[in-house]
């Protein structure tokens, strides 16, 4: 059975945030509602300061802590969809417990104060959905949290399931450089300029993602959580520094 996985090579990632904007436009998220985010960390002082960054999508965990806390099964892991964790917007009651329970901070309650004013939701008001950007994607599937969300529900990265689901059966890798699969690649992977991202089937031993994980010693972020992400990191930088308040630095 297909198990979609992503590999992110931190030695190639340039921290540009193209993944973030490609995702935002593909999935019509609000400004600052970064399903795919890039987090920057500072350590040290001039002239030996260290600046690192970490692109962070939803980890689509094998053992997702967000799923079991959901009182309504609105959040679920769909094994028939490659193990992607979805939010069913028709079932979500907006209790936000999944946001508390996600150790990676990749769930969003968009019905909150805007990061940027004027609020785009007022500029492009929507009926029955939180807003209606003029560039709204034609894709929508409320059962999987695809499209523009209604009020009062939680949203998250879907691995661009509306694209991925169209991929030919049994394909090992969704590679944006392959014209046959380009359109089925998640937006963040497709656009990544230094090609720091790879997407494929973790259940297929022949897949490029498995090869990269094996050859380059892929690691999972905060593996001690036991959530077992389906996203792997290569290179240095997945050892995210612990939170350090600015007053202590």
């Amino acid at each position: 059975m297909t198990k979609w996985g992503m590999v992110i090579d931190l030695d190639k990632c340039t921290g540009c945030q193209a993944c973030t904007t490609a995702c935002a436009m593909e999935n019509n998220t609000l400004p600052g509602e970064n399903w795919q985010d890039v987090l920057f960390y500072h350590e040290g002082t001039y002239p030996t300061a260290k600046l690192t960054w970490l692109p962070r999508p939803c980890m689509q965990c094998e053992n997702p802590s967000c799923v079991t806390v959901c009182p309504t099964r609105a959040t679920y892991k769909d094994m028939d969809a490659g193990g992607i964790v979805f939010v069913d917007w028709n079932k979500c009651i907006g209790c936000k417990y999944c946001m508390i329970a996600c150790p990676y901070g990749v769930r969003f309650y968009a019905d909150e104060q805007p990061v940027v004013e004027p609020d785009v939701r007022d500029v492009f008001p929507g009926e029955g959905q939180l807003w209606a950007p003029p560039y709204q994607s034609p894709e929508s599937d409320a059962r999987r949290g695809i499209g523009i969300q209604p009020k009062g529900v939680v949203s998250k990265c879907t691995f661009c399931y509306h694209k991925v689901s169209q991929a030919p059966e049994g394909v090992a890798d969704l590679d944006e450089d392959n014209p046959e699969t380009k359109e089925y690649v998640p937006a963040c992977v497709r656009t990544c300029p230094p090609k720091a991202r790879y997407f494929g089937d973790l259940d297929n031993p022949e897949s490029e993602v498995n090869r990269l994980i094996a050859d380059q010693r892929g690691v999972r972020l905060r593996d001690h959580t036991g959530n077992r992400p389906q996203v792997y990191y290569l290179g240095s930088g997945a050892d995210v520094p612990a939170y350090n308040p600015p007053s202590d630095s």
């Binding site: 193209a18 400004p31 002239p47 300061a49 600046l51 560039y135 014209p179 230094p194």
Partner: protein, 849 residues
Amino acid sequence: MDKANTGISRRRFLATTGTTGALTAAAVTVGLNGPRGEPAPAQAQARRPNTRITKNICAQCPARCGIDVYTTDGRVHAIYGDVGNPISNGKLCPKGHLGTYFLYDPDRFRGPMRRTNPNKGRDEDPGFVPISWDEALDIVAERLNDLRARGESHRFAHFYGRGWGPTDAGLYGDWGKLYGTPNSAIGHASMCAEGSKRAKRATDGNDSYNSYDYANTNYILNFGASFLEAFRPYNYLMQMWGKMRSKSPQTRITTIDVRMNPTMAASDRAVYIKPATDGAMALAIAHVILTEGLWDREFVGDFADGRNHFATGETISAAAQMAVTDPETGEVTTQPAEGSGFVELWTHGLVDWWNEELKDRTPEWAESITEVPASTIRAVAREFGTTRPAMAIMERGPTSHTNGTYNGMAIHALNALVGSLFAERGGMFYQMGVPYGGLPVNADDYLDDWARDGAWKEQPRIDMARTERWPMTAHMMQEAGPNHLAGDPYKLDTAMFYYTNPIWTAPNPQVWEEALKDVFIIETSPFPGETAMYADIILPDHTYLERWQDSPTYPFEGWPMTALRVPAVDPIYDTKHFGDTLIEIGKRIDGPMGEYYREIDNVENVLRHRARGFEDNPGDNGVNSFESWAEKGVWYRKPYHWHHRRGKFYEWDGEGYNIEMTEEEVKQKLLRTPSGKFEFRSGFLEQHADYIEREMGIPADRVGLIQWVEPVHTGGAGDLYFVSPKTPMHAEGRSGNIPHGIAIHQPMVGGKNTVYLEVHPDTARARGIRDGDRVRIRSDIGSIEAYCRLVPAHRRDTIVLPMEHGHWAQGRWAKGRLPGHSGDVTANVSDPISGLASYYTGKVTLERA
């Protein structure tokens, strides 16, 4: 809206009376036999049957990435990189995806408008009222005809920033010639990146940015080019970064900058340098390369005796080379030189350079100037000198200072020393032109007496570029406003602006705010920028997703390339292609000029004629006509035609680099200096020796030498260097009004609805400033406010404020957003040689607000 005004089109009426009007302009047909509507073949297949993909070029920076624009039922909903475009290769930077905000910006101008409030200023409501295109064009034409009739046609000026090619900026030359103004057009180059171009002009004779073979280089020595933030073409650079960092051997990268940034962080070695002193470090690197014998002998040459005589503090001599005529055959040959003198091959002036400048430019000397430890300089020099291919790159960091050209020359000299110019692999080149077809008519055949011999020909440009005041510059836009204000050389009457907003972007823009009050201003931007708030007439352009437009590439890999914009949707408002606006005004000018423009007719016609050039030069992707160009979105033809290999230059013969070039051919085509060599002693600068001596105090007999020149910092008594870099989110002129861009603008310190001033904690503490405080940045020309973040990764003497916000127009998201605009504390001082505005050389004071 004035309902009696029947000149307003129905579309515009819909557009201005309801927001949904924009979206109902669904069915797209354009009067062109382009391939639109037909599904594009093979790889560009969209999944949804009613989704169409059109080719376009991103317009948010100069990179010119080819893009696929996805349109479903008349709505543009996605933008991805075009796989067939050699710059984007299917990829995009973070700005590219946000392009739909340009199309659907709710603050766009929806049609031509006329000003009703005669007063101009920051707080004056222009009182724009809609008018028809005919009315608008007639008003402009009448004004220009009157001006011409009065014999004052030179008082009309075009200003432009981002020109794309033959359909816009490419029209200016003929326009000025026919109308009779030296001011067609004033470009923004001097507020952009002229420093590196002039440095290359002065050393290798090419007034251009370089092309680079990054994919094959093994070492990059990066002086202040923010490779991973704003260096062009950013998207392509990141692709190359991915390649360089995963190829074998991995490309080693050393970055020298004045602040911590992603490029510094991702490099193998980050070297902090004191602002404006990069030239000193480059000279010291050159010194080490020479004294340690690491230079490329096949490009530079060698001592006749094969020994290295470069020793710190000691002079060398040139080898005397004598031409000998064979008494029997009459053949002239050069005798091999003898003794300890230096024999130069493809360079010129090395001996003088060493003797008069370089021999004392030790790493220890450079440490005292740059604050970079001598040991670091030595280590970098050894790495750079022993790794081939290697290249030294630079951009505005080192050149946006009063000593910018000399800094740039010193850096570029390193490329000559290690032989990377035109090198076979991993080298750097220049850009080949596109074999475009000609226009249907020649402007020279349409000149009337005034155009040919009118008094306007005696007039200098308003910006005084290319005059004795700025003899080595091409454009000096930043001078135009102040010059007009002073009436020197004259007062402008009318000015037309395209893709430029100097009332905000010029250094010391406060002067411009005053200067442009009495100029009749024609603004062509689709968006309400600051200059537009001074406009008397608004003639809004289409956004880039709505227009036909070609764009030859800026240098990137050398071979010629030109991409094409194909409209994704019909213009959603009553706008007009800038090129067509220009042509339509031209048609309304009395005399033969009007006839000329009737022959040109429209930009579509221009493009079709240009594309005819492809018939004989089909692109590598099969593009040989306008139609196939529109289908593929790009024409290009590899390879680059020349390279240097083991001391000799070769030209491409269609199959390989097999034609060895003569020295004369190299001088004609590649090293276009007076000597035909790479000049460590610049003939170009020596031609302007008196000017340089006067302006910079360098003795006339030394001006040609690549040398260390003390920078002149502006700003008055400030104790902190103030730099205002661009982040990757800086979409030229518009990112301040793109909510998704604002929200992630400054990830390095978390600037998500403002841009923070980045300050070293010690610097802040000394001024009683805490993290998050509102602070005031002050120079001798003004002050601005910002919120600050304490960033221990920066130099203590350098504060960093990414340039973006502080607009007083631009749209609902941009207007009034803190921090203030960095330009407001930036003095209008430029490098006398390149004319590049010294944006990064100001000093300021910092205090709690």
